[in-house]
């Protein structure tokens, strides 16, 4: 039987209450939302905490998708299922629905949250790649209601490590909404619900004359983090979308990623996937931007 080591269970009633508990309990405490990464790690003693602070009661406060003219704001406790089912989100960023269809399974998606996924900072995690692709920023709240906003690049410090301090909490993800945008996500997995062998996300923004105003690609499971590939953005910007351009971007993706050989595949195969999936997602993102 796998059970976590003993800990004290605390239940947060508001965001500020949760932060107050973190302030008092320090690094011996951890927030738990969906729990589908943290609890398995605690069962295996890969993580041990004296206190778990259950933030599921904050879903009413932090479970939302709000769209304005220039931004989409998503509460950190928004669950995978809610991200998958949101038509407003799929209209603004179809990449979310592409990704959510292949994240874990429908039952796990009933529990797991956007904030939990990002805070887990697993280099194979799909929503981190999605948020990187979309140039999202993360709102982190600390004691006294102090808020700071950090980019995805700064949010992910390293594998399983984020910019969130011991007495802070991720509360919201903000994604800029720009005209002429299209996005897509592709994942290769060994079986339904598995982690990615490699995933790729792409987002493009087309100018009025049809040329690429900006483009971003994010990869998961292809290196120690899910940060974007600026070289691809530079190669695509200013050009008219074309098959040769996607090939060029795929080659850059394969060259710039840093996958490791493991039970999911060889480094060589993963580079091949990074290349192929980058091309496919760019192609679809452009189709969507045009429609």
């Amino acid at each position: 039987m796998q059970v976590p080591a003993p800990f004290e269970y605390e239940r947060a009633t508001t965001v500020d209450h949760a932060i107050g508990l973190l302030e008092r309990l320090g690094s011996s405490a951890r927030l738990v939302a969906g729990g589908h990464s943290l609890l398995p790690m605690m069962k295996l003693r890969l993580a041990n905490f004296e206190y778990l602070i259950d933030i599921n009661p904050l879903h009413e406060e932090l479970g939302y998708i709000k769209t304005s003219s220039d931004e989409v704001r998503i509460g950190a406790l928004t669950r995978h299922r809610e991200l998958l089912e949101s038509d407003a989100l799929a209209a603004a960023f179809p990449i979310f629905r592409d990704a959510e269809r292949v994240i874990a399974d429908p039952i796990v998606r009933n529990r797991g949250t956007l904030g939990g996924s990002l805070c887990q900072a697993d280099p194979s995690e799909d929503l981190s790649a999605v948020c990187t692709t979309l140039d999202a920023s993360c709102v982190i709240r600390g004691p006294g209601g102090a808020e700071r906003v950090v980019s995805m690049e700064d949010f992910h410090v390293g594998p399983y490590e984020t910019a969130v301090g011991d007495d802070e909490m991720l509360t919201e993800i903000r994604i800029p909404l720009r005209p002429g945008g299209g996005s897509a996500y592709e994942k290769v997995e060994r079986r339904a619900g598995d982690w990615a062998v490699v995933s790729a996300g792409a987002a493009v923004w087309l100018a009025a004359d049809g040329t690429i105003d900006d483009a971003r690609v994010g990869l998961a499971a292809a290196g120690p983090n899910t940060t974007g590939i600026p070289e691809i953005s530079a190669a695509l910007t200013g050009h008219a979308p074309a098959e040769e351009l996607y090939e060029q971007a795929g080659a850059i993706a394969a060259r710039s990623c840093d996958p490791a050989t493991d039970q999911r595949g060889s480094a060589e195969y993963k580079r091949h996937l990074a290349n192929e999936l980058t091309r496919r997602t760019l192609r679809r993102a452009v189709e969507r931007a045009r429609s």
Binding site: M1, A5, P6, G35, H36, D105, I107, V108, G193
Partner: protein, 165 residues
């Protein structure tokens, strides 16, 4: 710590450890062994129960998290002696052999039919994609859900006819 929740419409209060998982609370504390305990890693899905009407893997939910909420297990599917159409479907269409995955499968499939009374085979497959059956090859499970869907639709139609008459 003390936890109070509603399980199959009955309010229960127990003294528990914070680390107790919902699956063990149901099986060991309450003696509701219909919910099975399998892989421990939220992969196999035999421990699926409902938390406020949504299927969850109870090996990866703390019992404490269910405090103040409503839990439904396979024991809460039948209405007295009358089996739920999902249960009857599994019986009629050989939806199980060894029966280990069955409670989780039925909880997931009941929730599916509540949201989508006439699912396609692909939708049924997607719904149970987080659950493992090693006996049936899944085909008879899908047939069982179709059986329940068809019979529920027929029963609803009959009820409507009676109401109109």
């Amino acid at each position: 710590m003390q936890v109070t929740m509603t399980v199959n419409d009955v309010e229960v209060t127990r003294e528990i450890e914070g680390r107790l998982l919902l699956v063990h609370f149901l099986r060991d504390t309450l003696g509701l062994t219909g919910t099975h305990w399998g892989c421990d890693t939220s992969n196999c899905g035999t421990c699926v129960v409902w938390l406020d009407g949504e299927p969850v893997k109870s090996c990866t939910v703390l019992a404490a998290m269910a405090g103040g909420h409503e839990v439904r297990t396979v024991e809460g599917l039948a209405k007295g002696a009358e089996l739920d159409p999902i249960q009857e479907g599994f019986r009629q269409c050989h939806g199980l052999q060894c029966g280990f995955c069955t409670p989780g499968m039925m909880m997931t499939c009941r929730a599916l039919l509540d949201k989508n009374p006439d699912p396609t085979d692909a939708e049924i497959r997607e719904a149970i994609s987080g659950q493992i059956c090693r006996c049936t090859g899944y085909s008879t499970i899908i047939r069982s859900v179709r059986w329940a869907s068809v019979h529920e639709a027929a029963a609803a139609e009959k009820q409507e006819e009676v109401a109109q008459a």
